[in-house]
Symmetry: C2
Subunit: 105 residues, 2 copies
């Protein structure tokens, strides 16, 4: 749980997770999206693996990373629920105790 939040503390790693949302990607394919060196990306992957937020399988010379959504969900929502927070269904929603919506994006 602590490792998850530590992993999420870095914007590069958060963006990697978001890229992975669309499906498994190789280390190299992921690295293309960032302006840092491969070794640096490799270290980021390692942190994500350590936090159990991604799976990695080797296919030939490449390594395919995939998002472990359930782990992200349990950590993120688990923590949110400690505060009584409930996620809403994605785009629109109505009738709430707190009428202060600001849904963007």
């Amino acid at each position: 749980m602590n490792t998850v939040f530590k992993a999420l503390a870095d914007p590069t790693r958060r963006k990697v997770l978001q890229l992975l949302r669309q499906g498994p990607r190789s280390a190299g394919a992921l690295a293309e999206h960032f302006a840092v060196s491969k070794p640096t990306m490799s270290a980021h992957f390692s942190v994500l693996r350590e936090a159990d937020l991604v799976d990695s399988v080797k296919q030939g010379t490449t390594v395919i990373y995939s998002l472990k959504l359930s782990v992200l969900e349990e950590s993120l929502l688990g923590f949110a629920q400690l505060f009584g927070l409930q996620g809403g269904d994605t785009p629109a929603r109505a009738a709430d105790p707190t009428p202060d919506e600001e849904q963007i994006r």
Copy 2:
């Protein structure tokens, strides 16, 4: 957003937020729960303030901190929704591989 996740990366700060869930508390009262010095706690409060996760008002010689739940909610659930995650009613929830038209209750 980045400052929020950075703030959440530390267990002490996460626990401070949880203590604050039960209501506003003074810096000293919060500090009592931890085995670190006052200056260290003060630095943690500063990070939480920086992330806009808490409010602080001075009352006499003491400073009262209170949780800004809406900020925590927007960050945490906002990020969760980037992944199609929905906050569920606490423990059990079933059969939902793809989050489509889910009902609100």
